[in-house]
Subunit: 272 residues, 3 copies
């Protein structure tokens, strides 16, 4: 475990030194927020969706985010083109299946991407992951209402089926790779009071994936760092949403190896 | 009047307990802001515009926002589809005719929606409402420049014609249902220093409409609560726009029944 | 130089008194930010991209911003239509060629606009300007990685070719009109920690162009004012990105003639 924590702290350092470019094809609601999170982590964001340029843009990037939060056919086509190109180049692809389970179009679009593109990490809430794993789920818009029964099994099944890491975020985050699981217990309820913090977590995963080849480590590290910054911001602002939101970027930017080592809360488990 | 104020305080409580989902088809400028306002009020936002999913999404929602701030033909079609479905299901629909009167396309699109969809509440500034009521109006981009002469008559005429509540926001807000009017005098000039605060008011109307069947009460309550939060935020920040903007969400989230009862400023009038 | 500084202070005052409307056809990431910057400067923003209305909207505006940050064919067409109409009416047009050099599509679209529309000011980073001037450039997504060798020559060449002002922003900003150059040394590294601050600088240029006929003066004034506000915000927040971002709008709104005269850092040069 100490080795894992050391590696996370080093990965954060590596992000700041190498400033990887993260290409986002994401939703309108959070574009500004995820760009700012990328910068606060020390990396560089770019948003580009035109069919004319997505392949050329992703070729410059260290990781690709596909987020279906405000999907439509043009944007799904952009995601497929960029995702396939990323696969050709061995560039990690992180999928955020926002609202899978809420409408058939979201569920089908997420599956279409997963079938056409080799994704490195899927990040979703319990209901989105359950939906993609073929289980029943309760979802209200894009918020998971599901109690966590069967949650881990859904994650393991989805991880095995697509051969990728599955990160289920919630009160605790569960990062799953086949039969391995890391539970990340950092974070704060205040994150639920600001829109797009799930999408920001996805961006953090992509940023870490750009510098860390083991996607399980990248995902656990990204969620731990984002969660610790959230804890710090909540402590300074009482979690009031507007102040918390502004301070969250301060705390992400301020995060260092010492803080990570002191505050990280990880548990590792093997076996489904 | 005391009964009305009690009911507004109860509606705010009901929003927080039932967390209604509010489906937004809105403009790019304010998507993040209106999603965060929805959360701060205690409700859940979802943004979805694809023709493939808007009907399924609105079927899960407690209210629908249609906001034409960055309209184009695809989005107007999304609004028509979602609006008609909402009508079938008896779900309240709130229209924000941003910039009606500024261009013919905005005026015609707002009217097209009003003719095809039974809207519960229209929220606009004096110039937008005048335009839709067939009167002359002065508008600069999306800002009303019109002096308020004839404003109430325009509101009454529009309300009667479409059989809906009309909320005209400005220094004082006028909420009109046929021949009844409630004047809401909460608010602060600082709201005019931040983009999208009119759109946020529209979102607040939709959130309250999801829990309150009397749309006049819902509209007055939403504008009073949003206005009080604005006053509180201005008092804490001096109204400087960046600080005010962040603090506004804090104050919306912090608002409770006691504050509403203490600070609300309502006048009720009957007769055109 | 004192005359120039007086004029900049007067232009800021004129913005606040006349509240020009600035029509933006810009990218999804920064729409809210640039609208808020426009308001903080004292002007009025409007965002409109539908082919049905861009010509009518720009006819009401004092300046037009064309920003290709999240371009696609529909939006480029909107820019061409609005830009040509602005030319007919003598309305200044400011172009932000975001990411020119990063993909062929961006480079070609920026050139297509420059060939079809008479632009008043181009604002870009060193790599974007180099690309448009036909020089080699290093760009990572939308960030310039190029060392500044040849930077001024690129700017002069571009300015002469299109007969427009070229503003190259970076550590120092270089505003170029043919053989004249003004160097603006206001600003803070904290601006680089927040997404869209380059796009905000472009918006500031458009706001000043709406009230100042000499585009070289307008560009230098806008960048000086934005830079001074940035310095003030950095001093108050330590430059931590979330707090800095919120405070930046406060400081833009608070800026007055006295502060401008005290803090402005300009050097004027003639000759290529």
């Amino acid at each position: 475990m100490n080795e894992l924590i050391e590696r996370i702290a080093e990965d954060l350092q590596k992000v700041r030194e190498t400033k990887p470019l993260v290409h986002h094809i994401t939703n309108y609601v959070v574009m500004n927020e995820t760009a700012n999170l990328t910068l606060s982590l020390g990396a560089l964001p770019v948003m580009a969706h035109a069919h004319e340029e997505v392949e050329e843009m992703v070729a410059m990037a260290g990781a690709l985010v596909l987020n279906i939060g405000t999907l439509d056919p043009y944007w799904i086509e952009s995601m497929l083109k960029a995702g396939k190109k990323a696969n050709e180049l061995g560039t990690p692809v992180v999928l955020d299946p926002v609202g899978a389970g809420a409408t058939r179009y979201r569920t089908e679009s997420a599956k279409e991407i997963l079938d056409a593109v080799k994704v490195s990490v899927i990040r979703g809430n319990a209901a989105e992951i359950a939906t993609l794993a073929g289980a029943e789920a309760q979802i209200k818009g894009v918020e998971s209402m599901e109690p966590p029964e069967g949650m881990l099994e859904n994650g393991h099944r989805l991880s095995s089926y697509y051969g990728c890491v599955v990160a289920i975020t919630g009160k605790d985050d569960h990062v799953i790779d086949g039969s391995e699981t890391i539970i990340v217990s950092n974070g704060t309820p205040a994150l639920g009071g600001v829109t797009g913090t799930g999408c920001m977590a996805t961006t953090a995963l992509a940023v870490f994936s750009a510098v860390e080849k083991d996607h399980l480590v990248a995902a656990a590290g990204a969620l731990a760092c984002f969660g610790i910054a959230g804890e710090n911001a909540a402590a300074k602002t009482g979690g009031h949403p507007g102040s918390f939101h502004a301070t969250l970027y301060d705390e992400v930017a301020r995060l260092d190896a010492t803080q990570v080592k002191e505050k990280v809360k990880l548990v590792s488990m093997t076996g489904v």
